[in-house]
Amino acid sequence: MERQNIVVRFCGDSGDGMQLTGNMFASLSAILGDEISTLPDFPAEIRAPQGTLSGVSGFQVNLGQGVHTPGDKADVLVAMNAAALKVCVLGSAFAVPGARYDAGVSMLKRDAVIIVDMDALSEKDLEKALYKTDNPFTELGLPETIQVVPVRLTQMTKESLSESGMDMKAILKSRNMFALGLVCWLFDRPIDKAVHFLEGKFKKKPQLIAPNVKVLTDGYHYGQNLALTVNRIRLTTCQEAESAKGHMTSIAGNKATAWGLIAAAENAGKRLFLGSYPITPATDIMHELAARKDMGVMVVQAEDEIAGVCTAIGASFAGDLACTSTSGPGLSLKGEAIGLAVMAELPLVVIDVQRGGPSTGLPTKTEQTDLLQAMYGRNGECPAVVLAASTPADCFHYAYEACRLALEHMTPVLLLSDTYLANGTSLWRIPTLAELPAIHPQGVPSEMKGHYNPALRDERGVRYWAYPGMEGYEHRNMGLERDSERGTISTNPENHQLMVQARQSKIARIADELPLLHVEGNEHSDTLLVGWGSTRGHLLAAADEVGCAAVCFNYINPLPRNTAEVLGRYKRVIVCELNSGQFAAVLRAHIPGLKLEQVNAVSGQPFQVEHIVEQLIR
């Protein structure tokens, strides 16, 4: 069987190693030249009760060509236990008792293949997953078009490692490698590369390499020898990838974000400083940067979110490229301090990896619900630059861009990512530093020595930047309003009006140097799908399917110069976003009289392409 692209879902208990298995499989596919898009989907609990519906952890990958999203539904499911089988077939851990397969809500396509560990379907397992009968397949109402491949994963893993000397707990933890070996066979993936990955993964625990490699290889051979009664699937390989061969890697959004900051600091000739506080799903950015002391990165794990941004503001005041990383609740806490950076006109990069809200909400799920908070969530008239990344890989680009704009325009820049981008992976073409746009941090002319004050601006309206250590530029910065000429405290009403406008127009003017909007898909259609940030892939896929145009915004404030013109060209303009209409509200405010339709979802999950298409046709 040959396919253009295929969606594989690995699903098991949160301790079953599904994220590792999925990530390895995705990387193996990328090595072969496949495009990949991945979606980790795990519970908030570190270890929920074993075998229960709430403890199910999934990892979905779409691989092949024309891959825009991790896929709405899976072609192949690897289910490690009864709970995983149920959650995937019914589409959720919260299905009503007695629910049966429904193609509309199931995570599986009608013609999917399910590889399931038969040893994990014992009476006790079924009970924990709240089955009512002893036949899960009948109970779940699987249609005949779905092929079930029963495999005794547990038993064979035990046999594979019977002479390893490992204890039973450790042996059972290797079940995922048997499954991975089997799937590698099914998709004709190179097993030697998988072995290579395992060696890297267990560098610090070398005694685990050999047993894991053995289980993996046995899984592969199991498929080969028994010639499982399922067709092997061959993907047509991507020819375009050839040109970039040797320059590609797969990267997760949070890592790409961290590396974008590192690259920007080096190109700007600045020390990178991160002040941060652990918060899901942003913490991996701090982890990555804390490990990058070799790059000279300074990370302060602060006592709270406020101190995270405030230490960064201190570093910025002292002349560094300063950043803070957080998620929605943390952004709420940082609001006042971001206002200080706006008022003091200091460069600052704030990364908000959005999650389900409000309040603690859904910490491990994805949403685009912080847009208005990023735009307006501060006291006073408080404009800042707002950007949004679209793919895990382009988190690198927009993190770099956030630093460039902050340093060149003396402003806080908020970069919106989300759970979907943060934990998902995509292919990344590895750049060299020289290929990236130059960054020219704002400085101060030497003739101002002895006469400098913090209100002095260049012709772009950008304040000059002098910082401690520079002799002859001593000054006092502050969160109080300053006199537009002398830079000292002022409560003069005309001055305040002037300063409000100066801060506003400084940001507005940045639009002059931003790339114009670029319409994708069938641009001659009369219908335009509009999105921003991480929904780009879903929008393009939906536009392809119905033959309409799509445009995805990465610059939210200021908006690209041609926004009104592009949106004005289409009869139907449909704003699709994972909130109740926040970007639509921004567009309506920006373009008076604009008629918009909306497609919204706030379920904590990425869009389903199908859902967008249905709304379009309706």
């Binding site: 040797g246 101190a307 201190g314």
Partner: protein, 330 residues
């Protein structure tokens, strides 16, 4: 350098008679005596009367937001340990809204010089009780007297494992200058509690010890290596009294009593420092001024920067292009 050179051209807007005037004077004198150039000095503050201080100094200054001066100063000093960084804060800014940052900058031992202006009142918001107002204190927000128990700043500092604590009184210029100079020379988070009077909303906040007639009897100025003597003619001394049970208590004895203690600010065990700092002028025990504790320990800013240098000196990849070479490439 002269003290005058550390003053900015800004008109000082503290109320006439406010204790902050004296602290500003002491600070510029201390800066002059230290001789660190204005461009190598950064003064960070939060919000409150005391937080206006940076505007009146010719150094780099940053008057930030309420309570966050400590976190911002931590960022300045950690990223640029070569700078001398002062933090100006009040009892509300530092101990209420900024309490978390205060204990953590001390716990980390960031090499900062922290002036904590304690007037036991919120002045800039016009007269509410603060975390250091005594129980029963009548203010605009406690018209029937506050029912809250106050903080004793020294206890917080020691509880956060502070390495330096000094206390001074606005009207005692020499002690103020001495404490600030010692704080600046101390490697680590150095807290100088400045007892200041608020003439408008809490006049006489420290009159028990500030009055000229009684000051000598109600305060003791501690100096490392010197006997703990006080009184007009240094006729009294402090000693430990073991008679009341297992825990010894400080007691007043004659100056020539052989039990008179010699002050050791460098003692790592904070027990005696705490007893000295808790003397409140009641029961005949004087309020301790001067440097009560000064213990050297590695500073956060030093340690963070050293760790980066160590990792870098052994790293194979030190640039972005070298880093990307370590990636699995397809």
């Amino acid at each position: 350098m002269e003290a005058q050179q550390y003053k900015s051209d800004q008109y000082v807007r503290f109320c006439p008679g406010c204790g902050d005037h004296a602290i500003l004077m002491a600070l510029t004198k201390a800066m002059a005596s230290l001789g660190i150039p204005t461009h190598q000095t950064a003064v960070i503050s939060g919000i409150g009367c005391s937080s206006r201080m940076p505007h009146y100094l010719a150094t780099y200054g940053f008057n930030t937001i309420h309570g966050r001066g400590g976190a911002i100063a931590t960022g300045v000093k950690t990223s640029h340990p070569e700078l001398t960084v002062w933090q100006m804060s009040g009892d509300g800014d530092c101990l209420a809204i900024g309490g978390n940052h205060f204990i953590h900058e001390i716990r980390r031992n960031v090499n900062l010089n922290i002036c904590l202006f304690n007037n036991r009142i919120y002045g800039l918001t016009k007269g509410q009780y603060s975390p250091t107002s005594p129980k029963g204190f009548v203010s605009k927000s406690s018209p029937y007297g506050t029912v809250e128990r106050p903080f004793i700043p020294a206890e917080l500092v020691l509880g956060a494992r502070g390495t330096f604590f000094a206390r001074t009184l606005d009207v005692d210029m020499p002690t103020s200058v001495d404490c600030m100079v010692a704080a600046a020379k101390h490697k680590g988070a150095a807290v100088v509690e400045c007892l200041v009077n608020c003439v408008i909303f809490n006049n006489g906040a420290h009159s028990l010890i500030a009055d000229r007639e009684t000051r000598a009897d109600r305060t003791i100025i501690l100096r490392h290596g010197e006997k703990m003597l006080f009184g007009k003619d240094k006729e009294k001394g402090l000693a430990l009294d073991y008679s009341s049970g297992v825990i010894p208590r400080l007691t007043v004895v004659a100056a020539d009593d052989e039990r008179v203690l010699v002050h050791n600010a460098r003692e790592k065990d904070p027990t005696l420092h705490r007893m000295l700092a808790l003397m409140d002028g009641e029961a005949g025990l004087p309020v301790a001024l001067g440097v009560i504790r000064a213990v050297e320990e590695e500073t956060y800013d030093e340690a963070v920067n050293r760790q980066i240098e160590e990792v870098r000196s052994q790293a194979k990849a030190k640039t972005f292009d070298e880093l990307t070479q370590t990636l699995e490439r397809f």
